[in-house]
């Protein structure tokens, strides 16, 4: 049988007409159920894909632009950082290079204290557009022009009740020549409170000038390096490293951002993979629904299959009708699911905010009815662990792969019922009357 009659018969078998009572038969209901199950399984899959991608990309971008830089040139010993920085800046493709000195300390303010990662950076880094894209100034200004100026992360500022203009005590530990640890207190002025939108980072960072850091921070506990930025770090992760290769003075090793926080990035990627695998199981289960719906159709349409055979349809024709029908069901479900998933993905922040409002209203109501105190506001995605808003990044290529995979799975799931239809003896089919 040629393609046109196969499509014609398949369309009638699968879409059909309503019966005299205006309802559809059992098999058709099962087919509609199968399409919906494919669609419903794809909505969470695509949403998780988008949310995970958006989160990972958002978190990674913050780490890369604010923390690791695109690459770091790390000296073996006391190498010439300024020379390396200047050489990196002159390397083709490099968009910025700055000296940074990192250590740890304790920050005291208003009777509270907090451990902090002290980041001695250059003003140019703080005001670089790629930095400011992810570093929001909550109060004050992003400036560390004077020697004892500091910027603190918003979460740390909240814990220590800090605002722009306040002073903080920074305690660092230095070891003297006889090995005794000596605390050193420095007073810094908070010029600005900044936020990366990711509490993990906002809770631990205190920025100060790198020259001041060189004086205040214990050299034995301080990591100094040149941070380098180049073109899009996601499209070309090694671009910054490759750009400075051969341009730096001797005594430096250059690491790309993926290597610097390898564990974190691999952990994020494997979490995403695991989530997608779990979600993929639901798609596989939905494909089983396609198989069972088609089996119902084959059983219900046994007599008509027999008629088709008596009219000259071959077993291969029948197999094609049902396998293509299964793929069509998968395609319809996948398109509906992809559309639903995209809609949810694009509106995910509003949906979560709405859900949070409803949940908190219910909690408040419950607290009022029970006469208790209203509990703390509930957050679905606690910004202590996630970004405050989920970046919307639609992975179109991956969605296309998911849609194709759903169609393929449905096609495979349809093969069993298709073979059953093909193998049905015409006489057995006629006896089904």
């Amino acid at each position: 049988m040629k393609g046109a009659p196969i499509l014609f018969v398949a369309s009638r078998f699968f879409a059909g007409r309503r019966n005299a009572a205006g309802t559809r038969d059992q098999a058709r209901k099962a087919l509609v159920g199968a399409v919906l199950s494919i669609a419903l399984s794809l909505v969470p899959l695509i949403t998780v894909m988008q949310v995970a991608d958006g989160m990972i990309r958002g978190i990674t971008a913050r780490y890369v632009e604010l923390g690791t830089y695109h690459a770091q040139a790390v000296p073996y010993a006391s190498a010439d950082l300024v020379g390396a920085r200047d050489a990196a800046r002159n390397a083709p493709g490099v968009t910025g290079a700055w000296i940074e000195r990192q250590s740890v300390g304790v920050v005291f303010a208003h009777g509270a204290r907090e451990g902090a990662i002290i980041r001695g950076v250059e003003q140019g880094f703080v005001t670089d557009p790629s930095t400011l894209e992810y570093l929001r100034v909550v109060s004050g200004a992003a400036t560390i022009e004077k020697p004892y100026d500091a910027l603190v992360g918003s979460a740390m500022a909240r814990k220590l009740s800090l605002n722009a203009g306040d002073t903080v005590n920074l305690i660092t530990i230095r070891r003297n020549q006889s090995g005794v640890m000596i605390p050193r207190v420095s007073i810094l002025t908070v010029r600005g409170v900044v936020s990366a939108g990711y509490r993990d980072l906002d809770a631990q960072w205190l920025f100060m000038r790198q020259e001041t850091a060189a004086r205040l921070l214990p050299p034995e506990n301080t990591r100094s390096f040149v941070g380098i930025k180049a073109a899009d770090p996601f499209k070309a992760p090694a671009a910054a490293r490759d750009a400075v290769s051969g341009h730096l003075p001797p005594g430096f090793s250059v690491y790309q951002w993926k290597d610097i926080q390898r564990n974190l990035f691999e952990s994020l990627a494997s979490t995403r993979t695991m989530l997608l695998l779990i979600m993929a199981i639901t798609v596989a289960v939905a494909a089983v629904n396609v198989s069972s719906a088609l089996t119902t159709l084959v059983l219900e349409r046994g007599q008509e299959i027999a008629v088709m055979k008596s009219l000259g349809a071959s077993p291969a024709d029948l197999a094609r009708i049902f396998s293509l029908g299964g793929a069509a069901l998968g395609a319809l479900g996948a398109v509906l699911g992809a559309a639903g998933g995209l809609l949810v993905s694009v509106r995910i922040n509003q949906i979560l905010a709405g859900l949070e409002r409803i949940l908190n209203m219910l909690r408040d109501l419950s607290a009022r009815l029970s006469g208790g105190l209203s509990p703390a506001q509930y957050r679905i995605l606690d910004p202590a662990y996630y970004l405050e808003t989920i970046p919307v990044h639609i992975p179109f290529a991956e969605i296309a792969v998911v849609v194709i995979a759903a169609v393929g799975l449905s096609f495979v799931a349809a093969l069993g019922p298709a073979r059953r239809a093909a193998a049905l003896s015409p006489l057995d089919g006629f006896r089904k009357r």
Binding site: K2, G3, P5, V9, R12, A306, M308, K309, G312, A313
Partner: protein, 226 residues
């Protein structure tokens, strides 16, 4: 010149079950020529429909040789049988067996559409047939909107659309009231005669059986011509 379109030599059919083996056809010999009109009568369960199924390539004999329309059915492959059913024979069953989601026109044109892939041509061939069976005003009615007699008339049109050499009719009026049965019988014989199609009718209706030029009776698994 031998123009036999149906040739059966020593056809036997045995149904096997756990309890017993039931031999329902015990050496059928039959020859029908092009344009023959034949009937087979016999008591219920004697194997008339089984013989018709074998001749239509829907079933196979246990032993014996069956050649229909020049095609050896006894050892034909499944795809050869499909082609045979599409091009050589047309079936009219006791129950109309129309596809319920298809209109009268679609049901009728389907065998031609399946064979050629040309829907327009298939419809063009179906229209005069439906006119001929008196259903020109019922083209777009689905089976549930047609009476029993009308459905059977659509089935006759469907059986004839590919201009088969042979039409096999299994109790074509068995489910119809007297008036409808008369119309269907008339149509069947008239159209077979007009198109010089070999017609083999299995029936309990003696009147219909006697209308056939050649009359057979199947009794105890043996076919006797009267």
């Amino acid at each position: 010149m031998n123009d036999d379109v149906i040739v059966c030599d020593g056809v036997r059919k045995t149904f096997h079950s756990a309890a017993e083996d039931l031999e329902i056809l015990r050496g059928i010999d039959l020859r029908l020529s092009s344009g023959d009109c034949a009937s087979i009568t016999g008591p219920s369960g004697c194997g008339k429909s089984t013989l018709l199924s074998i001749l239509g390539g829907l079933d196979s004999p246990s032993t014996g040789r069956v050649m229909v329309g020049g095609i050896e059915l006894s050892d034909a492959r499944e795809d050869e049988l499909s082609t045979f059913r599409a091009r050589v024979v047309g079936f009219v069953f006791q129950f109309h067996y129309l596809l319920k989601d298809f209109t009268a026109l679609e049901n009728t044109m389907l065998p031609a559409f399946m064979a050629s892939g040309d829907r327009r041509d298939a419809e063009a061939r179906a229209l005069p047939l439906l006119e001929a069976v008196g259903l020109g005003d019922r083209l777009h009615h689905v089976p549930s909107m047609l009476s029993g007699g009308e459905r059977q008339r659509v089935a006759i049109a469907r059986a004839l659309i590919n201009a088969p050499a042979i039409v096999l009719a299994d109790e074509p009026t068995g489910n119809l009231d007297r008036a409808s049965a008369g119309i269907v019988e008339e149509l069947l014989f008239q159209m077979a005669a007009t198109t010089n199609t070999t017609l083999l009718v299995v029936t309990h209706d003696q009147g219909m059986a006697e209308r056939a030029g050649r009359r057979f009776m199947l009794r105890d698994g043996v076919l006797l011509e009267s």
